[in-house]
Symmetry: C2
Subunit: 334 residues, 2 copies
Amino acid sequence: MIPEAPAYWPDPAALADAVALRDRGAIAAALNLLDDRRQEARVRASVLMNRLAARPSSGAHVIGITGPPGSGKSSLSSALIGVWREAGRTVGVLAVDPSSPRTGGALLGDRIRMLRPDDDAVFIRSLASRGELGGLSPEAGPMSLVMLAAFDVVVVETVGIGQSEVDVAELADTTCCVVQPASGDAVQFLKSGIMEVPDLFVVSKADLGVLAERTARELKGAIPRKPEGEWAANVTLVSATTGTGVAELARGFDAHRAWLDAGGQLGDRRRRHQARWILKRLREEFGVHGIERLGGGDGLIKELLRERVPPLTRHEELRKRILSLYGSPEGERT
Amino acid sequence: MIPEAPAYWPDPAALADAVALRDRGAIAAALNLLDDRRQEARVRASVLMNRLAARPSSGAHVIGITGPPGSGKSSLSSALIGVWREAGRTVGVLAVDPSSPRTGGALLGDRIRMLRPDDDAVFIRSLASRGELGGLSPEAGPMSLVMLAAFDVVVVETVGIGQSEVDVAELADTTCCVVQPASGDAVQFLKSGIMEVPDLFVVSKADLGVLAERTARELKGAIPRKPEGEWAANVTLVSATTGTGVAELARGFDAHRAWLDAGGQLGDRRRRHQARWILKRLREEFGVHGIERLGGGDGLIKELLRERVPPLTRHEELRKRILSLYGSPEGERT
């Protein structure tokens, strides 16, 4: 049963159908719905997501682009959009801006809107990072699924290094890390922990010549060797200014997606991401203790991977199970 | 009552006294104790912290240093340690390395140990960031309090931008953000959200001349104006290579601490940090739902600010209160 909601709220099933037809108003409304934590919004979001999940998979690709501030992610995204549009592909962008509520932010969005004011096959939404500066809000996962239903390519762009890589890799099919030339310590940093997370590396500002090439060499040296048959991350030199390397990078994304598909890993990866999303949301609401009451995170992930229940619905069920363990009246309702 | 613990564990009160005498083994043991989440360790840590809190305040200063990878934080810390040691001050450093469990990390620690192998007035501990890459683990707060009892200056150094600034500002008396020259987008980024967090800014690599000066000018332009009597962040140009600006920066830290002290804000700031630490720990264990069961975060912070109970003890009490609301047997025990 869908709880009472303001009369102007659209029917979630109709909204899902309009999203799949790339109706811009519907996409915006769907993203707003996912951002709304009230009970009636959550139930509607669940209906929306189930309807979208029931559609045949569109072959779309979710690409995470991350890297430190100043590394040139926004220019790179703009250049990539150019390449994809020329190939006739539609593009949705979720740009996570580390913006205070005061200043708003949305640098990428503004920039691309200026470049392509009339192209309605490109849709950009800025997501504030809501107190998780540099990190990704839990809504980003379902939002990328909504965009996946509407666009051929979905880019999730986040500023930061460290936590951001990890967050993005938990929702993207393919993760790309942008490094700027001559940031030797950045290479040190990459070496030390997250070198294994990205599927592709980009050295931006390739027009800097020798500096960029040296950084690319250092990165290549730091990439862990992989056994035959596994994906080996590569490094592409890209200049958003001159356009060098942008088409090559776009081909690299396609190659990674094809590799995922061939090995049957794409579906596995998406299911794993959804299971981890459920866990993340539950942990946010109920903490480590709540997860333990459900038998612990590892067991829960295994249980979730065995089934095919859409994530918002499953999250709501598990929420109620914890609430009922805590003796809360909300947990007893069905 | 202190629960059973391995016989080789030191008595926490004796440990506290040895920490205050700057016994290196005791400091290391105390930090390990805070890193241990078992029940018996938590109770001992609580005894340790209460004993340390009961000592007269030493006038020590907790300084947070943060900034993006490659900005020169480690070199800056090394240079600052030189200045402080010449002035006869002892220095403890907590370096949060974004390191995987595999590679270990500890770049800063290694570097400074190489520089000052025999100086026992300098103590460095590397803290892995434990799945909060770029963020600060909740143990960093109590660990900085342990170091505060032993050293004149305590530096907490973290890599990252965004979340790291915010995390460090929640445990440091003074927060300093390091920016490297010619990272124009970094300035954009700073402008967009966290410009109000740091008490001091450093432009590193001042030997880069014009580039560094331009970055300093941009930063100065982005600092929000403050009413008379409030602290206005300033920008220091520093070169760890030539030593330029390091002594000036050290004086800047002293000036900020003196300003905090004169207005009676130092104690307030530390109490606020401790209250927020309690909230953070509870949220980690029990989520937003647990905090709501205690009446919500805002009310809890207000309640905590009115009292003077040491944070580990208070945290344990509130934990038990939530557990008892959930009907857990652990909550009923005293």
